[in-house]
């Protein structure tokens, strides 16, 4: 990995791609796509992150262990976000106060 010398040409190419993606994410944000705005913004950010990690940070040429470390870092962050959301998203289902019948209680 540290032996593998990446030619500056690749660096400039990756740099151009990053600039284009920045412009893209800025441009798409101006179009109203409803919920897809957020999804597109996140995918573009993921692609840019992958570019920086693989080429600028040489993970593409690193031993497998470094790749596993990177993936596990993002995986555990995903656990934090996903399992916290199971609480926040499912709160309204059972009546907002965390209990009580989900069906509207007609008090008649």
């Amino acid at each position: 990995m540290s032996e593998h010398i990446v030619s500056p040409k690749i660096y400039v190419l990756v740099f151009m791609a990053l600039i284009i993606f920045t412009g893209l994410t800025y441009g798409i944000a101006l179009i109203n796509l409803g919920p897809f705005n957020a999804i597109v913004a996140i995918t573009i950010a993921m692609i840019k992150t992958l570019l920086v990690i693989l080429f600028f940070m040489h993970v593409k040429y690193s031993p497998k262990m470094t790749k596993v470390t990177v993936v596990s870092g993002f995986f555990f962050l995903l656990i934090l976000v996903a399992l916290s959301l199971t609480d926040y998203i499912s709160r309204p289902w059972a009546g907002y106060y965390g209990g009580g019948s989900a069906k509207p209680a007609n008090n008649k």
Binding site: V6, Y11, G23, N32, L77
Partner: protein, 228 residues
């Protein structure tokens, strides 16, 4: 100094050879970056949950931030990532002057970034959007028309998270400046050679990580439903 002397002088006593030392230091750096991912991750998780709970207030607050400067800052930081990568490349080939040149370029671009950031903070200060006793959020008519459920108290949460996340990011950049200046000093003394350049690579990894954090901060903080 001939290569073999630098190698002996530089190889730490508890490593078998330079190859093991380099792999160990870069793997150690990556484990540290994982802790940084979780460190920023806690803040991103809080931001995500509050954004889901109070979307309209967050969108309204985000619309008061100038997205032009955010985009320029993103481009500036990507350029600094490029110069950093080329600096690492120069260190690998042992070109001392090119290395120092790119390191200084990276510091310059970082400075530009912080300058723009300071200007954005100043704008927020002028508009009384800094959380705390002086905080006051005025709901403009076109904002109220586009986002119905704006609650000024919740916009203060957005700005608290905005200042915390960008502040933490800026702090990491200042630490980056310290590391880069140390590299410039050591590099100009010719300490780094094609055999021993792992410090340059470590700071490179750190700098690219700081860039990745901004790559995520820009869409999350600046681009909340900018469409008309």
């Amino acid at each position: 100094m001939s290569d073999s002397q630098t190698a002996v002088h530089v190889l730490k006593h508890h490593f078998r050879d330079m190859e093991q030392q380099n792999e160990t230091s870069s793997f150690g750096m990556w484990v540290f970056l994982v802790t940084e991912i979780m460190f920023f991750g806690g803040l991103f998780c809080a931001y995500l949950i509050y954004r889901i709970l109070y979307f309209d207030s967050f969108a309204a607050a985000s619309s008061t931030i100038d997205v032009k400067w955010g985009a320029i800052n993103t481009v500036v930081l990507i350029c600094s990532s490029l110069t950093m990568a080329l600096a690492v490349h120069a260190a690998q080939l042992g070109k001392r002057k090119v290395l120092v040149g790119f390191l200084i370029a990276t510091i310059m671009l970082g400075g530009v970034f912080l300058g723009i950031k300071a200007k954005e903070y100043h704008d927020k200060f002028v508009e009384h959007h800094v959380p705390g006793p002086s905080f006051h959020f005025e709901v403009e008519p076109e904002m109220a028309e586009k986002f119905h459920a704006i609650d000024p108290a919740k916009t203060e949460i957005f700005f608290s998270l905005y200042f915390l996340m960008t502040g933490l990011h800026a702090t990491h950049m200042v630490i980056g400046f310290g590391l880069l200046t140390w590299l410039v000093i050591a590099g100009s003394k010719g300490k780094y050679s094609p055999i021993y350049y792992s410090p340059v690579e470590m700071v490179g990894l750190y700098w690219h990580f700081v860039d990745i954090v901004w790559i995520w901060l820009f869409p999350l903080l600046y681009l909340i439903s900018r469409h008309h």
